[in-house]
């Protein structure tokens, strides 16, 4: 009989916890001999702390979190690795009805185009300042070391808005975002689903743009694993990675979305209506005022190597940590960030499954204008499009140049 691996994983109630939830509920974990226990948490800090003391071996984490932990930027950080990603995309930028009305006066687009929406926001901010408004608009993200924080700042900066001077960036837990918008304590936010849908269905705001429009096919969450545990229990980790890969494949198939939504509404998971989940899963978002809009690759759980832990993703997050003053750039720090992501563990664990395994560990981000076949083992692989909204490229081999170009 095969040895059973007991693994406890922490997660936050977000749509992209779906892969972990499906691994347990659809039997993928069990099929790999993993007895998976999922524990819902109330903050990313709590997930990190409980991983540090060994309550959790692995957890649903914001992709930059393990990097920040290994760089010693967060309290009580234990060495963490990212051996698999939990999908691409999935976030939206939602603004209050008032801000949206101002953006519309300045030519905001109906199609969530990031460039046009950014220009409209910039013009709206200028008009607002001319009218004598002194307090900057408050835009919320969930965590300083999050895809939300970096993509929001990237979008603002690329639109000619200084995220530290022209805007105040504040922090709010995801489930409280819609309420904070309604209460007018914030003017907008960037968050994962279903927490934008929560505001648009309630009539509290309008989705202005989405992560997929700011940077298509971009990284969002990873499975963080305690490095010490991963070293001691390589078989358990490999079995879990296989289960998660199968679960991601299942989550990515449109015919399973209703069943997945029905699981996620459970009281131990996201505990919100199934309808809320289906917008994000289908990519046809309720953007506000009863309108819907379809976004290609809004949330990609499996296709396009969506679970592969690209070292270029780790390096990009690192470049943004440097850009916004969270860490000083040095070759050592850059290496710590890169080495947090473990495509080697991903490949060796998933080899028996016959799924597409990219040949490279890193790629030039933003280089693919159209779906492009790339080198892989196990199965053929198509990546892209993956462009940044401003047309920029991120070449991880030219990290120093990229950082220098973004220096303020």
């Amino acid at each position: 009989m095969r040895k059973s691996h007991e693994i406890v994983a922490g997660f936050m109630p977000l749509l992209d916890s779906a892969i972990l939830v499906a691994a347990k509920e659809m039997g993928f974990a069990q099929a790999e001999g993993v007895e998976l226990t999922l524990v819902r948490e109330t903050s990313w800090a709590s997930i990190r702390d409980r991983m540090a003391v060994g309550h959790f071996q692995v957890a649903h984490q914001l992709a930059p979190m393990p990097i920040a932990a290994n760089l010693g930027l967060t309290p009580l950080a234990a060495k963490t690795i990212a051996p698999i990603a939990l999908g691409l995309g999935g976030n939206a930028v939602t603004v209050s009805n008032d801000v949206w009305a101002r953006m519309c006066d300045c030519g905001a687009p109906a199609d969530l185009d990031a460039g046009a929406a950014g220009r409209a926001l910039r013009a709206a901010l200028t008009a607002r300042a001319r009218e004598g408004a002194r307090e900057p608009l408050k835009l919320a993200v969930v965590h300083p070391f999050s895809g939300h924080n970096y993509e929001l700042r990237y979008w603002l900066a690329g639109s000619g808005i200084d995220p530290d001077r022209d805007i105040e960036i504040v922090f709010v837990p995801p489930p409280l975002m819609a309420d904070a918008l309604t209460a007018e304590t914030i003017d907008g936010y960037c968050v994962g689903e279903p927490w934008s849908t929560a505001a648009t269905l309630a009539g509290a705001g309008r989705i202005a743009t989405v992560k997929a429009a700011i940077w298509r096919s971009s990284p969002e969450k990873v499975l963080g694993a305690a490095a010490a545990w991963a070293e001691q229990e390589p078989e358990a980790l490999a079995a879990l990675l296989r289960a998660l890969c199968r679960a991601a494949q299942w989550c990515g198939a449109a015919e399973n979305h209703h069943e997945l939504a029905a699981i996620l509404v459970g009281p131990d998971y996201i505990a919100r209506p199934a309808e809320w989940m289906l917008y994000g899963l289908s990519g046809t978002l309720a953007i506000g005022s009863g309108a819907t809009h379809r976004i290609e690759d809004f949330f990609v759980p499996f296709a396009k190597a969506a679970t592969f832990p690209w070292k270029s993703h780790a390096s990009w997050f690192y470049s943004q940590m440097v850009r916004w003053g969270q860490v000083a750039h040095s070759p050592e720090n850059a290496a710590i960030a890169r080495e947090t992501y473990r495509p080697d563990l991903y490949r060796s664990a998933l080899k028996p499954l016959g799924v597409a395994l990219p040949s490279a560990n890193a790629k030039v981000e933003g280089a693919l204008a159209a779906p492009t076949p790339v080198g892989s083992a196990g199965a053929s692989l198509v990546l892209g499009p993956d462009g940044f909204f401003d047309g920029a490229l991120f070449d991880p081999d030219k990290l120093d140049d990229y950082i220098a170009a973004q220096r303020r």
Binding site: S43, W44, V53, P175
Partner: protein, 201 residues
């Protein structure tokens, strides 16, 4: 014991007012009098700036911990760097705190001996509070069970003409046969009676 000359300033953040009071009392009894208690993180940045705490104690499950930690990233809100616990190598203390459901943030540069008694006190008070809450819950559920059983007995006595002792015996026998608690059987019976008969009141 805190040094008399420069007592440490402690900020307690807890949405649970009762628990906050229990911790506050413990720390005050131990001689710490520079205590500030808040129940809501709204406006917390200003509170931190005003009180300039050396130690911040917050419940681990507070959904606003990410918000609090984000403030440590912004030099505007907090002047001095803050770490969780003084010494990362103090694994036993960290584990005890997480087990108890408390987290503590400490200003950089404080000596371990000065902070440890505060953290230990918070841990023991959190544990005591959890124990108290558990006992209260047990007492409450015992009371509930007794009420349910009394009502179920009454229904059986009225509908089947049983004596009180026989009604109880029937409930107990059914529970044993089904391997369930008597209170669960009583609850099912009350629900069933409610569905079958018009309300009595």
């Amino acid at each position: 014991m805190p040094q008399r000359s420069i007592p440490l300033s402690i900020l307690i953040i807890d949405e649970n007012r009762l628990r906050a009071a229990v911790i506050q009392e413990g720390l005050r009894d131990a001689g710490y009098d520079r205590l500030t208690v808040v129940h809501d993180v709204v406006g917390i940045a200003r509170k931190i700036a005003e009180t300039s705490p050396d130690v911040i104690v917050i419940d681990l499950e507070n959904p606003n911990r990410d918000v609090l930690e984000s403030m440590f990233q912004l030099s505007r809100a907090v002047q001095r760097p803050i770490a969780m616990f003084v010494d990362r190598s103090d694994q036993a203390s960290i584990e005890a705190a997480v087990e108890a459901g408390v987290s503590a943030y400490v200003v950089d540069g404080l000596k371990r001996e000065r902070v440890k008694p505060i953290v230990d006190m918070a841990i023991s008070r959190f544990n005591a509070f959890a124990r108290m809450a558990r006992e209260l819950e047990e007492a409450r559920s015992q009371l509930e069970s007794r009420k349910l059983i009394d009502r179920a007995k009454g229904i059986l006595m009225a509908t089947r003409g049983l004596s009180e002792a026989d009604a109880y015996a029937l409930l107990r026998k059914t529970a044993m046969n089904q391997n369930r608690k008597i209170s669960e059987i009583a609850e099912s019976l009350i629900t069933a009676a409610g569905l079958l008969a018009p309300p009595e009141e």
